[in-house]
Assembly symmetry: C2
Homo-oligomer: 377 residues x 2
């Protein structure tokens, strides 16, 4: 049972769709499928922009979203308050971009005022792009993309968003907010195994493409866009993952965006309430809590011991901390194909695990009760 | 029924393996799986070199295999006698490499003497790498990699090989020949759907990595190598395709390399004999015939009409020609999970199709008979 922030659980219809015999990717059948998939992706992104599909991880999509629209020496502003924000800074430097970071401590949200100050100071308009991680998977912090984006719009730079664990978990209204580049991955809100990555591209970003000179070929997005207009791909697509994507988007459309976002919000609140009822300190405040993942920093019991017992005894996979948070936090994923029952299951198992490990700072049943009240509230 | 050069047919155990629920990619279970997969890949490549797995198409692997070991301005020699050779020239130029092409007409093999002359003329050793497509999928021509490689070895440049439709179809003895970089893709000889790509890297190539300066991040192979040494990956791997790969490698190991290569050779000869018995001109000579694909250039009947009837009436997918060969040739794939029965089926259906289209330049049954004799010979 996967309660990690990816791979996330995959529904049976999606698994079975992936077990179908592949079809030729230059066939009419595949084009018909791709047309429906593209329409579904635009619906999920709330956009009329291109939404392109790559055979890659989310990192590949984010890199593509950066390098297609910039040239060596271009100045970029990168938000860094966790492992993924840090990574986009590394990508920027690997390509010789003039990289200025806006940082916050891991577990704290980026301060939109820091972006405002840096952008207002840039009267020469040297900053070509602002790169922001929406939901920072490593810490469970949701950055205030809407406010940051407002400052970016006032400046005129491109905004490039890592929405890997926010897309499909909370609203990322690409057109309403005017997000230029939005990257995501299949093993997250999409309810699919890993292997596909997505990037939406605004007309303004395509304008920037025309003068961007960073080298690229496999990650050159123009041929993907030209292909998508004819329901085809520049390179052989992972057709079986497309079968799964088609099935997953149909399920998502049946559930509806509002219901999907409400479910993630409910599970986020239920999980947090349960941790509080168990007197386990949450890592990250309520007002910046990711809809996809809750990070917990236990004090009187080892995070890694909790994960170990949860896995061995109950076959429930929780995520650990990354880098300097390794051993200090554990993370509960509630992203994608997660039902309310799964939250109760995880909290029940966690209560038993805590008791087994000698932690007694809670009334037995308090976590399950707190979660249940919110789920049914 | 897929008789195209990828995606190729996928065996049921592989399809079912892919339909399993994903596991966490940072788990001990996944590491154990990856260890077995890596061992299987080294067996298939006949090498002790690194064999790295990317979430990408074969093009992504080939690009990675080029850009990790070169710097802008480096001189490279690229063999171009078809769509894929042409593509590697495009990749080289996209990254600012000083690109010299060795060309041959589509349908003809590259002449090893042309490589010899260019390499011998390069007394200053300016040429850093020679890039060769082994089996040119667009034309069904197998280039003489062994001889070309011998000339490269005499010079000292790196050799980078597109083995996308040769690996798993005929012997590509990486260590014996000293091939520095070998790229391939899952939807070919591997009997898998598309979505994974592979690249083997020699110690000599890793030496070149140290001074190579082309920008890269997702396609930076060093983190993949460091990860593989610990049975892990730098970015989220397509775990369900890994499940399939594990099952496919087990099947291949049961069959054995010699038997796999003999099967492809037998089917190649049977297919060519059938075309000759039907008086359909082969595109490409016997002594450079790919073990993966046979290209046919019919004269009195339209290639696209043949493909259309084969698809509509018999649900057999054949490939068409690409670029200037569009409408002029059709291509029969016999790569990966193709049995001798499939060859007879395709030839039978082709005979019926030809008759339906008014082509009468053959004795009914002659194609099937010729193929059968070779398959059972």
């Amino acid at each position: 049972m996967l309660m990690i922030p990816g791979p996330t659980p995959v529904p049976e219809p999606v698994l079975l769709a992936m077990a179908k015999h592949p079809m030729g990717h230059r066939s009419g059948e595949f084009s018909a499928l791709m047309g429906e998939v593209t329409a579904g992706l635009k619906w999920l992104h709330q956009t009329t922009n291109d939404v392109l599909v790559l055979a890659a991880s989310g990192t590949g999509a984010m890199e593509a979203g950066m390098i297609n629209f910039l040239s060596a020496g271009d100045k970029v502003l990168v938000g860094n308050n966790g492992k993924f924000g840090e990574r986009w800074g590394k990508v920027a430097r690997a390509y010789g971009l003039d990289t200025q970071e806006i940082t916050a401590e891991w577990g704290k949200p980026l301060n939109p005022d820091d972006f405002k100050a840096a952008l207002e100071a840039d009267t020469a308009k040297a900053i070509k792009a602002v790169i922001v991680t929406h939901s920072e998977t490593s810490t469970g912090v949701l950055n205030d993309l809407e406010t940051i984006n407002r400052h970016v719009k006032a400046h005129g730079a491109l905004i490039m968003v890592d929405a890997v664990t926010s897309l499909g978990a909370c609203s990322v209204p690409v057109d309403e907010w005017g997000l230029d580049v939005v990257a995501s991955g299949s093993q997250k809100g999409y309810m699919l195994p890993p292997g596909l990555a997505f990037v939406s591209v605004s007309p303004k970003a395509w304008d920037a493409y025309e003068t961007a000179t960073l080298p690229k070929f496999y990650l050159d997005l123009k041929p993907y866009s030209q292909g998508a207009a004819k329901n085809t791909t520049p390179f052989t697509p992972p057709v079986n993952l497309f079968f799964g994507l088609h099935a997953a988007l149909q399920m998502m459309q049946r559930e509806g965006l509002a219901a999907i976002f409400a479910r993630h919000d409910r599970q986020r609140r239920a999980t947090r309430a349960a941790m509080q009822a168990l007197n386990l300190p949450l890592f990250g405040a309520d007002d910046c809590a990711s809809p996809a993942i809750t990070a917990v920093m236990p004090q009187q019991v080892e995070a890694e011991q909790i994960r170990s017992v949860m896995k061995k005894q109950f076959d429930i996979a929780l995520a650990g901390g990354q880098d300097h948070l390794k051993g200090k936090i554990f993370r509960i994923g509630h992203l994608g194909f997660v039902g309310d029952r799964d939250i109760l299951t995880a909290v029940s198992a966690l209560e038993a695990t805590l008791t087994k490990l000698g932690y007694s700072q809670f009334t037995p049943g308090a976590g399950v009760s707190a979660a249940g009240q919110i789920l049914l509230g």
